[in-house]
Amino acid sequence: MAEKPIITVKNLVKNYGDFNAVKGISFEVYEGEIFGLLGPNGAGKTTTLEIIETLRDKTSGEITVDGFNIETDANDIKQVIGVQLQSAGYYPNLNLSELIKLFCGLYGINKSPMEMLEKVALTDKAKAKYKDLSGGQKQRFSIATTLINNPRIIFLDEPTTGLDPQARRNLWDLIREIRDAGTTVVITTHYMDEAEELCDRVAFVDGGHIIGIDTPNHFIDELVASGFERKKQVKLANLEDVFINMTGKEWREG
């Protein structure tokens, strides 16, 4: 894959009052990859994403998204990105297809709600309210709203938190499809198996600093080469494999 940066972050700093949440981080996201931001709670992942998404002001630093400057071209950036917030609600009292229509209006784009819902396998829920969806369905719906404007990049902030193993795998498939269709994906997660499985490259963020960027495989190889060994010998399967094996592969919501 040609490594052409689509997002460039240089020396990003964010202070909340006296509190220094992001302390000068720099990284690039390449076009067409799934890029993972990993790190403990409070590391500054959401803050960083929301600054790139033009939803929060930065304290200092330089960011370009698909060639647009975050300071001067915020509106152009909004046109080419899709955003799933870590915690967002949807307009009350509307069903899914009405919500999609609303977003079509907000993006100034004509799409049929069914077409969008089909992408995330929610056509049978078209008349349901968002609040009546299961956790996994909610996440899939959120992703559908990020795809309405045919974005070049989508940002997913912990899309799989709280989902069961099948729903998680189902979402991975969806995210891979989105990437394979040419959309760059920036994702945060607390599940390392997920990052290992899904992400082309990951960055570790801790205490407002980036402490490493590379492919998951490279990180693992590096660690192994340094002489690291798991304390307990890994069995050939783990409990998640048992779960999947016992409950079946197909995910079951709806």
């Binding site: 909004k78 917030l85 907000l106 100034g108």
Partner: protein, 363 residues
């Protein structure tokens, strides 16, 4: 790529908001059910009483036998504390049923009774008429020694329309409906859109802030005006609410309703910024709506209040909205004839939006 249209985005929000409003029970209850219930209840209470209200002209000879006989009659309620001007207005509206003036003559017969009836209250005028006839029959046949009659009657009837209680209560109910929808509705919607991060998600799209405000306002305006139209129609066809110039009056009322709602929404915007969470909305909103609900002539004319209360009611925006509504609906005034009320509403508009702009929060 097609050029981005703020207009379409605004309409998309308005459409979504309108759907949401008509699906939320509280909006429908406050804007339609409550006002209609009040109208039904009060329209039925309002028409009671079998007394005939008779204004007494200042020039009346209160010692004359005619006056004394009327004073003794149970069904007659004599009103002596109104000025000639007030009485004439009340008569035209049917708030009083007749005006009498008893004058002593130097010639025969010694007394003349001038009675003014009103078309606005023909039934009660009729009661008074037959009452007067029997009084005169008694007085004139009492002294057998006097061959000539003691008094004569001169009658006239003024033109007027009956001012029914519905004519008073309906504009008040409209005002109440607009006030609660504007203040509570707007405050709740913007606070909850902010707290549930719906607005934040909107900001990730190219939509402009003004589109969000405008779209929401548009939806509420359409909803409230449809509600107002419904209330007016029910009032007119079911309870005989007076619409002097018909459709023109309705349109004027809707224009006033729109202006009122826009002002009340300003309170809602301000409250949504001040309130920290949803449970803080009702108390703050009540501080705004309750005094207006009680003191702006929703149920009773403000003239019934003591002076210090009247002074308060003379400041409140709803007082002027109600006032203008009643003038337009009952007296058939055009909007150019309620400029005084509109001017004061305009001052409120500037004041409240100056506050709202300061307190309103997006996140």
């Amino acid at each position: 790529m097609k050029k981005y249209s703020n207009f379409n985005a605004t309409l998309a929000i308005a459409r979504a908001s309108f759907r949401s409003i008509i699906r939320s029970p509280s909006a429908v209850v406050f804007s339609l059910a409550f006002p209609l219930i009040f109208i039904v209840v009060f329209a039925n209470i309002g028409g009671s009483g079998v007394t005939v209200d008779v204004g007494v002209a200042k020039t009346t000879d209160t010692l004359s036998p005619v006056y004394l006989a009327l004073k003794g009659a149970k069904v007659v309620h004599l009103i002596t504390d109104q000025s000639a001007d007030e009485m004439a207005k009340s008569l035209a509206k049917g708030n009083i049923d007749a005006i009498i003036d008893v004058q002593k003559n130097n010639a025969m017969p010694p007394y003349t009774l001038h009675v003014q009836y009103t078309e606005a209250s023909q039934q009660k005028g009729g009661i008074l008429k037959s009452l007067l006839q029997s009084i005169f029959f008694q007085i004139n046949s009492r002294g057998n020694t006097i061959p000539q009659p003691v008094a004569e009657i001169k009658e006239t009837t003024v033109k007027g329309r009956e001012y029914k209680y519905i004519d008073f209560i309906l504009p008040g109910m409209l005002g109440f409906s607009l006030l609660s929808s504007g203040v509570f509705g707007t405050a709740f919607v913007f606070l909850s859109l902010r707290l549930t991060l719906v607005i934040k998600r909107f900001f990730a799209t190219p939509v402009k802030k003004y589109s969000i405000v405008l779209g929401e306002a548009l939806a509420r305006l359409v909803f409230s005006l449809l509600g107002a139209l419904f209330i007016i129609m029910v009032g007119h066809y079911a309870f005989g609410f007076t619409l002097i110039h018909g459709i023109v009056t309705v349109i004027n009322m809707l224009v006033l309703a729109a202006l009122g709602l826009i002002i009340f929404m300003g309170f809602g915007f301000a409250i949504s910024g001040i309130a920290k969470n949803e449970s803080a909305v009702p108390p703050i909103s009540n501080i705004i709506t309750m005094p207006q609900f009680l003191l702006s002539g929703t149920f009773f004319a403000t003239t019934a209040f003591p002076n210090w209360l009247q002074a308060i009611s003379k400041v409140l925006p709803l007082t002027y909205l109600n006032d203008a509504m009643r003038k337009v609906a009952f007296e058939g005034a055009g909007l150019n004839e309620v400029t005084h009320q509109l001017l004061i509403l305009g001052v409120w508009f500037i004041l409240i939006y100056a506050v709202a702009v300061k307190t309103f929060k997006w996140e």
